[in-house]
Symmetry: C2
Subunit: 334 residues, 2 copies
């Protein structure tokens, strides 16, 4: 049980914020965002600066909701998909907080939440924050084609979410609580198609969720939802199938952030949504408020990340993936 | 004293390895590497795959020196300069270790050491590992120009080190010990010249070292060396000057990894060396063995990272930087 850690003090996720773009505002989760920005430039002159603005807004809103200043935060964990994580570094540079940069691709929010929870649970700090973002326009031109090219998207491709999300973990007795977590291992099953990241990431989600359930001797029925993100349509089917092969039925309570963000047909997103901001904002906008209110009692949050770069993928390499997991509860007993 | 954490159990850095390229083998630290590779491709067909091989070798050598298997490691912290940190993810994917990706540019080794030390000190795990790398050929073509272009390098530019380094932190009573650490904050003084990263990073090193000394009420003379990396010639001068202005004289015991790696004139490296592998391999190859042997009693290790990307730099942005610090000792009392 090396990778799974029980968080014995059950730290609270005391504040959370999610900021979205126009398309996200028009999706089924539209009403759950704290703020929707219709301008993809976020009042800056480039998409990259816009993505940094998204992170700045996410941190600012979260601090405001918590009634805290930047100086009250002991450490900030942040990362994103952009080369050298500049969405984060330029977004948070004005906040004067101790900062630890993380890279987990689309699993960034579960990695940040996991690390913030471990730091608070072990008394390394009092209040830890996590932030992430993604942006359709920055991701398209970095990973795929210039937007003006109008490239055809394959049926297995996913639409990068324009959203930022952040949360604060503190030692506090207010739901939701972080109860345990599993640090993921890199899994690479040889999938080389960068337009089918769901298939590349499903085995990582499977490995992490399975090892959590085994380590804790728990069942899928112990949770309202087993939340992956962002496997999309293809990856979600594979994830359930891989679990089924091991005799574990998650079909009744599996939710994938990549399938929750958009109206699949009307919004023309093919296999679903993706991006650090997808699982991040779905957690901070939808799940955490419901866990706080007690509408949901227990979830496993297992965001997934594809750890490729366009360069090595074009050199013929397959796509290594990872998934980190945090168990979140409304109560402190099962 | 929020950012500085005392490591009360004084975890040991029980193993370390450094792997270099041809030019590094010809420098003043050449004999301190565990292994020198003359082939810049590391027997692969691309430089990027070569850099991953460098990380694989660094992890493998470190495990061998410790007499451990991958399964003995509870968590691996790793990152590098390549887009999406692929030097790391492809380098370590075969090891089947719980993995937490980090991004701190050239400060990666101090961030990894800091996190590994905090995890072990607080009982989150028994054995934590950190790994990083950089490669001249991958960095040049990603950050600057295609190698074949033969671009002129400016006098303030630094030469990216081709090296990988890794270390293992455990609860053990064997020197060297990690005694305390300071999590850095992002500092941006408005330097926009990507050919002068030393100037961009010096204020970050200053901020972190100064806050450690203040938090701990210690003096530069308490340490054999205050080690920064990789400020190079320009940044080192600025670092000493910034400290001097605050009345702290570090000129007697300041060492910069960027000035230690190469013979400045003979090897034609302009302002010095840089890259995650620079501070990483100087620590793992030179300082840690001397700390273990007692030839050196105390150092502050404060690697520095420039958190830019070429994209945002070309959009006119300045260069945010960060420095994380770990105090390493031969003994457990000052």
């Amino acid at each position: 049980m090396k990778a799974t850690k029980i968080l014995s003090t059950q730290p609270s996720v005391t504040a959370f914020a999610s900021i979205g773009g126009k398309k996200e505002g028009e999706g089924p989760l539209g009403d759950y965002f704290d703020k929707i920005n219709d301008d993809p430039y976020f009042s800056t002159d480039t998409y990259e600066k816009g993505e940094s603005m998204l992170q700045k807004q996410a941190v600012r809103h979260c601090l405001d909701k918590a009634g805290l200043d930047a100086g009250d935060i002991d450490v900030l964990f942040g990362g994103d998909l952009l080369n050298q994580c500049v969405g984060t570094t330029y977004g948070v540079r004005s906040f004067d907080m101790p900062f630890l940069g993380i890279y987990g691709a689309c699993s960034t929010m579960s990695q940040g939440l996991l690390m913030a929870s471990l730091f608070v649970d072990n008394g390394i700090c009092e209040r830890a924050m996590a932030v992430t973002s993604s942006h359709f326009c920055t991701a398209e031109r970095q990973y795929r084609f210039p937007l003006g090219y109008g490239g055809q998207r394959s049926p297995t491709s996913q639409w990068t979410v324009t959203a930022g999300a952040s949360l604060i973990v503190s030692r506090h007795s207010k739901p939701p609580y972080a109860r345990a977590c599993t640090i993921g291992k890199i899994v690479d099953m040889g999938v080389c198609d960068a337009s089918n990241m769901g298939a590349a990431m499903a085995p990582a989600a499977f490995a992490t969720v399975k090892s959590f359930l085994d380590d804790m001797a728990m069942q899928p029925c112990d949770f309202d939802y087993i939340v992956t993100g962002d496997l999309g349509k293809v990856g979600s089917r594979l994830f359930c199938e891989l679990m089924q092969r091991e005799g574990v039925d998650v079909s009744q309570n599996h939710k994938d952030c990549g399938l929750m963000m958009y109206h699949a047909h009307e919004q023309d997103v093919h296999s679903g949504a993706s991006g650090c901001g997808c699982a991040g904002s779905t957690l901070c906008g939808y799940f955490l408020p419901k866990l706080r209110a007690g509408e949901i009692k227990n979830i496993l949050f297992a965001a997934t990340g594809a750890l490729l770069s366009p360069t090595v993928n074009m050199q013929g390499e397959s796509i290594p993936s990872i998934s980190h997991l945090v168990w979140l509860s409304h109560g402190t007993t099962i």
